[in-house]
Amino acid sequence: MCLGIPGVVLEITDREAFLAAVDVSGVRRKINVACVAAPEALDDLIGKWVLVHVGFAMSIVDEAEAQKTLEVLEQMGEVQEELMAMRNSAQA
């Protein structure tokens, strides 16, 4: 279960209630960020991408890890291309 979608934090709107405005593809919503930031570190969230579930930020997107996953997939593609090229040249 559990629909979650990444959004970017625009601003902190209510420090006491841990509320921040996020943008998901041009749609804005106030969400609770208590699970992803300590009270003194709320401002650090601005510009960060968070995973939004039922009006709560539940995780900060680790952009380096996202990049790593995509790189693994890209390398897989390159290896496959090389294999195809080798097979083709062997047949030629």
Partner: protein, 350 residues
Amino acid sequence: MSKGADTIKPRETKLQGDRVTMAHGAGGQSMQDLIDDVFLSAFGNDSLSSLSDSARVETGGGSIAFTSDSFVIDPIFFPGGDIGKLAVCGTVNDLAVSGAQPLALSFSVIIEEGFLVSDLRQIAVSARVAADLAGIKIVTGDTKVVSRGDADGIFINTAGIGLFSDGLGLGPTNIQAGDAIVVSNGMGEHGAAIMVARGDLGLETDLISDCRPLGNLCGYLTKNYPGLRAMRDATRGGVAAVLNEFAVASSKAFFIDEASLPLKPEVRGVSELLGLDPLYLANEGLFVAVIDPAQADAVVADLRKIPGGESAAIIGTVRSDPPGILVMNALLGGQRLVEMPDGEQLPRIC
């Protein structure tokens, strides 16, 4: 793949439950069941039973298109329009997609006691503006006021008549295998804008409803493209409902390509956040056209030059088999069936 019609189970059409629910008004299977079981069984006649957007009424001199629609939208004022504009566009569009030239409109209101006259004035003005844009006059109407609580602000009914051009027989029975499926603009903008405008989901966007009269777009197409087979405006139930109806009425298979669907980022955002499928979101200024594939590129190129058609696109192809279904070729090469919607789409968390 040629498992044919003999393996198709009959659709379940039995009306369920002993009370009317919201699902019975949502433009999907439940509403069809209600119409079949209650109204068609009471009123059934040749003109009604085709359940097309406008009825064809024969007169001595030719055929008249006749249609009616009621409007109960919440909120009454929304980004991109209000209930007055919607009431004109909805009926005019039903005439236009039937291939008829709109002639005259009725405009009847049921108003809740206490409704602001200034709001009523605004609604009337925007109805007039929309009628002018559509080239139609509001020639008759009715006004009723009910006690507070007996209506929600204002309800409007409009009926329209139009003239069918000679020889023009648009309809899903004309659809042939190989035909192209075209949508006239970006999908789901009315449905998404209204969901946001209601305010109870706490969302904000710059999205506006696509509510607009389609007469110009449809008229242009019917005049210039003899390869046009069928058109329908994709209101409640969205593009998915229209394509399912076409698939069943034509006994053809409709295949659409996910990558080709024109969607604004905000419509995608609302859909992803709330777990909705934009294929089921309502439109009020978009029609689906099925057309000879040789003319499809030209139609799209023309539509894109006309306001309200900027994002027109070919979204798929009609095939002969398996009949009566709508299939999505998904983004990555997989496939899924897109069912007839049943009831209102509800936001989900899983």
